[in-house]
Structures are given as C-alpha cells and as structure tokens.
C-alpha cells in the first residue's frame, strides 16, 4: 500500500528554503535598519550590540553605553514595531483575500481602517488626556473603533446563522464610507489639532517606545498563530463554500475565527502607528506571484515579507528627507500603486490568485 510519489515537487522545497532565506534576510534587515540614523554607528558595532542581547551569546562590550542606548532604546523598538506592523498587515491581508476569495480584499475592506481612523480622530478631538494599560487615548480609541466597526459590519451582514461574503464586503464598504465622511468633518472642525490627525492617518513610526511594542506583540503573535493553524482550511476555502463544507470544513466557524483573528491583529497594528495602506494588498500578491497560492506557504512568507518591506519603507521614511519624516503611508503608496499597475498589465501569468 505504501508507495512513494514518483514525481517530486521542487517548488515545495523552494518554498521551504524561501522561508529560511527570508528569516535570515529579516535578521540582516533589522541590523541594517538600526545601523542607519543621525548618529553614525558602524554595521559591525550595531550587529554586535544586537547579538550581545540574544540568549546564550557572551560578548565583551567594546562600545559605549550611549551607543547601546541609541541602538536598543531608540532605534530598535521603532524597527521592531515596523516589522510587527508589516507582518500583521500582510498576513491579515492574505487572510481576508483568502476568506473572501477576493483579490482586492485587504485589512481595510470591511471597515477596520475607517473604524480605527474614526476612533483615533475622536481621541484627538476629545479634550481629555488619560491612560489605560499603557495605552493613550488615541490608540485605545483607534483599537476600539476598529473592533466595533467589524462587529457592526458582521451583524449587518448576518443572515440567520450564515455570513454571505458579498453582503459582508458591501456592508463594510458602506460603513467605511460613513466613517470616512465623519472623519473628514471632524478634521475640518478640529482647528490646531488638524496636523496631528492628518499625520496619524498617513501613518508614522516616529517616537516608538518598547511599551508600544509590548502592547502590540501579544495580539500579533496570537493572531498569526491562529491564522497559521487554519492555513490548510483556507486552501480548501478557495474551492467554494459548498465544496469546502463537503471536504469537512466548518465554513461559518472558520469565517468567524479568521475574521476575529485578522481584525484583532489589524487593530493592534494600526492603533499606534496609524492606517498604513497597501501593505496588506501588495505583499500577499507579490508572494503569490513568486511562490504560488498555497496558503500553507503564502501565510508565513507574507509575515516575513511584510515585516521586511515595512522596515525598509520606514527606513526610507525617516532618511529620505531627514531630518523631516515622510509619512510611511506615502512611501507604501508610492511602492504600492505602481506595483498594482504592473500586476494589471502583466498578461503572461494572468492566473496567480
């Protein structure tokens, strides 16, 4: 009965090596991004400082404690948060695309971003300053706004016990438009707070601290693990809901679990740094183009590519016009829009989704 498959699948090995390769690239990217900044520090010194903090590594410091503070307390948290947010947005985008079987889906299609934006703007406008569990009022309201938005969309779209995907997307787009108009109204009436609001909406990693990483990290880790567990089910979902059910997938439960997981990590990702567009849509598509549509590989590859991409984008954002910071949303859109046009014009391998 046991019989080996007479063809072997080189692309499976290729994808496994790709995961390893991207992991290495991610490490190098972290070191590279922390090396660059207004104070000149060599790549070697930066790498040594970073490596010395890893477990089981024993090194004699040949650097000053000031340099260590710059690397570990100022640059590293910013780089790590950029990586986390990139990973979160990319895997959330891939998940929404798979769940809705819609190549245009991204973390913002069902109103998550607009909900977060509305929450954040309300937080800016309210004349109170208040903290809860290390969350300022703006990130807290952004987080709540994102979740609340999805809860409303989910309940609007529900028909009995099922959630038709088309209704969900339509409800999300409609609610997003409503939130968007309220945000616009609040912005023009916000007076001197307008600049801060607009900067938040375009996204920025400036002044990131470890405390923010600590808030975002658990949501992203739990969300990513949950989504990865269901990667095979997401593959089966690509058939259609009827076939997925006939292959043993509890479709409605899967939709709920993945919607909650992807929304939680999106909300956590955007609450401090603002609504960064395009990552959730271009990273999964780029991964598909190179390594194919199999979600068991697509999801981990998206996590790593998203992290690397946003670290790089943030590096450009803070160095291109230094000392002025460019909003990171501008950078991702500059990379994202031409990439989309390229996808549109690419006729040779039209079927990649």
């Amino acid at each position: 009965m046991e019989q080996s498959v007479p063809i072997h699948f080189p692309h499976w090995h290729r994808r496994a090596y790709a995961i390893l390769g991207l992991l290495v690239l991610f490490g190098v990217m972290v070191a590279f991004a922390t090396t660059i900044g207004s104070v000149q520090i060599s790549f070697l010194t930066t790498s040594s400082i970073l490596l010395s903090k890893l477990p089981f590594v024993d090194m004699n410091p040949t650097w000053t404690s000031a340099l260590e503070t710059i690397i570990l307390e100022i640059r590293l948290p910013r780089v790590i948060l950029a990586g986390l947010v990139g990973a979160a947005l990319a895997i959330a985008g891939a998940t929404y695309q798979g769940l809705f079987r819609n190549p245009l889906a991204d973390p913002y299609l069902i109103g998550v971003a607009q909900g977060a934006a509305l929450g954040a703007v309300v937080g800016f406008v309210l004349p109170i300053d208040w903290q809860w569990l290390g969350l300022g009022i703006v990130p807290l309201f952004a987080f709540i706004g994102a979740l609340l938005s999805v809860v409303i969309v989910y309940n609007l779209a529900r028909v009995g016990k099922t959630i038709p995907v088309t209704t969900l997307i339509l409800a999300g787009v409609a609610l997003g438009a409503l939130w968007g108009s309220i945000v616009s109204y609040l912005i023009i009436t916000s007076g001197e707070k307008m600049h801060g609001i607009i900067f938040w909406l375009m996204g920025s990693f400036s002044l990131t601290q470890w405390s923010e990483v600590k808030v975002v990290l658990p949501y992203v880790v739990v969300g990513v693990v949950v989504i990865l567990l269901y990667s095979r089910s997401l593959n089966v979902m690509q058939l259609d809901e009827e076939q997925a059910q006939q292959l043993g997938v509890n479709v409605e439960r899967l939709k709920l679990i993945l919607l909650v997981a992807a929304t939680l990590i999106t909300a956590a990702a955007v609450c401090f740094v603002g609504t960064i567009g395009f990552v959730g849509i271009i990273i999964p598509h780029a991964v598909r183009l190179v390594w194919g549509p199999d979600y068991r590989f697509l999801l981990p590859l998206s996590v790593l590519s998203g992290a690397i991409f946003l670290i790089l984008a943030d590096l450009v954002a803070r160095t291109a016009l230094a000392p002025t910071e460019v909003p990171i949303g501008v950078i991702t859109a500059i990379c994202g829009a031409p990439f989309f046009l390229y996808l549109l014009r690419r006729k040779k391998r039209a079927v990649f989704f």
Binding site: M1, E2, Q3, S4, V5, P6, I7, F9, R101, L229, Y230, R232, S233, N235, V236, Q238, L239, D240, E242, Q243, Q245, Q246, L247, G248, V249, N250, R288, G292, P293, D294, R296, V351, F352, F353
Partner: protein, 269 residues
C-alpha cells in the same frame, strides 16, 4: 460499508418546498440514479445529504447516524461529493487540488505526510490525472477538471459518493470513462453511490436502481427496466419516445420522437 437512508425528507429554499416526502435507501455496493427534469430537485437532494442545506423535516441517516448531528469532519470521512461543474481556484496545481481531499483526515496541527501523498497519487493514477499533476487548474479542460474532482473524492477515501451530473458537458468517450470508473469503484470497494443524471440512457446503463423525480416527488423507482418506459417519460417529461432494449446488454434505451413527425425528409416529401 455504510447504508444511506432518507426517511420522509422535505427540502426547500427560503420557505419554497422543492422536495416532498422523499424516502429511499441505498445499500453498500449499489449505484442509484436520481433522474428527472431540470428543476425537479436532484441537486437539492445531493446538497441535503452532504449537509450543505438543512432539512425542513425528515431524517437522513448514514451508517445509522443522523447526518445533521454529525460533525462536518466526520461526515467528510464517510461521504464524498462530486459537485456539478465545480469551480476550482485557477492558480493551484492539479496535485494541490487532489491533496485537499485529505483535509478531513488531518487535524489542526497535522501536515500532509508521505501516506497522504501516496493516497493522493494513487487517486490521480486511477483517474489518469497524474500526468497533469504539476499543471495549473486554469489550464485544464472541462473533462480534466471533472476527472480531477473525482480524484479528489477518491483521495478522501469515503464510504459513500454523491455525484451531481458528473458527465454534464463531457463528450461521449469521457462520459463512459467517468461512469465506468465510478461503477468499478462502487463494486470493488462496496461504496454507496448516488448519482444525479440527466441522461436517461447513461442512467439506465450504469445504475442498479433509478429514482424518477417529478416536481419534488418520487414518480417511480425501481430497476431501469421498471422505471424507463414511454408512459413514465411522457408523464414526467411530457415528451413522446420509444424505449428499446440495448442491443448489447438488453437495458432500456430511450429514443425521443421528434415533434415534427419524424423521417419526413427521408421520405423525400
């Protein structure tokens, strides 16, 4: 080996009753054909047995267990479905699609192992789809996709198979090829097979029993010889026809009578 039983099943969509008081049984190793006009409820019955839609009333039992109370994973290990004109994601390879048949056998933390690969490969060899293994689904023809979906059902290793118009849009050689394959599986592995077929001649050649459905009710059921006759066809389809025994195996064959009187051109008038 499992037995499939439907006990006075009522089905429909949004309050519209489509299938009324349906009762039948299928034994292991038996292939039963559902026949009837378009819209008579054949696909609805397939969907209800595979729990894609729920019942208005009645009971569906598979191996004595109520299908509506079975977890989906358990049901998918017992029952495989070949849908009518399945949509497949075009960027996946043929092998990846067939491998999805292993899904109900794997837990949340399991990846497909060597055994799953081997079962998948055998399923592809049986359906002659192994030569397509690395091709993308978007490049395949309708007949190849149909065979691929049957390979996926084989990889699922079910005890019972439901087919919804498995030969629709196939040419005559592929129709015979696919039904031969299913019939052999049914006999060899003592599978319980239900096939919705619109081609009465194919249904008659392959099925042990036929259930003729009209407006959601059973009009006649029995062996092809009992069900396929001009009277039943006239009553259900409203079409005049002649029924003859097949010259090779003696099973009934339907020849429709052309409405304009037939043969006029041959008479030279």
């Amino acid at each position: 080996m499992v037995k499939l039983e439907l006990q006075s099943v009522w089905l429909g969509y949004g309050g519209n009753v489509v299938v009324k008081d349906l009762t039948f049984q299928v034994m292991p190793g038996e292939m039963v054909g559902l026949i009837g006009p378009n819209g008579s409820g054949k696909s609805t019955i397939i969907k209800a047995i595979s729990r894609v839609i729920s019942l208005y009333s009645g009971k569906i039992l598979l191996s004595g267990k109520d299908v509506s109370k079975m977890p989906r994973g358990d049901l998918a290990r017992l029952l495989g479905v070949v849908p009518q004109m399945p949509l497949l994601p075009s960027a996946f390879t043929a092998f990846e699609i067939v491998l999805m048949g292993r899904n109900p056998h794997l837990g949340l933390l399991q990846y497909e192992g060597a055994r799953d690969m081997a079962i998948t490969w055998q399923a592809m060899e049986k359906t002659a789809t192994h030569t397509l293994a690395e091709r993308r689904v978007g490049e395949l023809s309708g007949g190849e996709i149909q065979r691929l979906v049957i390979a996926r059902v084989l990889a699922q290793e079910p005890k019972s198979i439901l087919l919804d118009e498995p030969t629709a849009n196939l040419d005559i050689s592929h129709q015979v090829e696919i039904l031969d394959l299913i019939k052999n599986l049914c006999l060899e592995n003592k599978l319980t097979v239900v096939a919705a077929l619109h081609d009465l001649n194919l249904a008659s050649q392959y099925c042990d029993r036929l259930i003729l459905i009209n407006n959601g009710r059973v009009h006649a059921q029995g062996t092809p010889r009992e069900v396929i006759n001009p009277a039943n066809i006239k009553e259900v389809y409203g079409a005049e026809s002649c029924v003859y025994p097949h010259p090779v195996n003696g099973l009934p064959v339907v020849l429709p009578n052309a409405g304009y009187g037939g043969g006029a051109r041959n008479n030279g008038n």
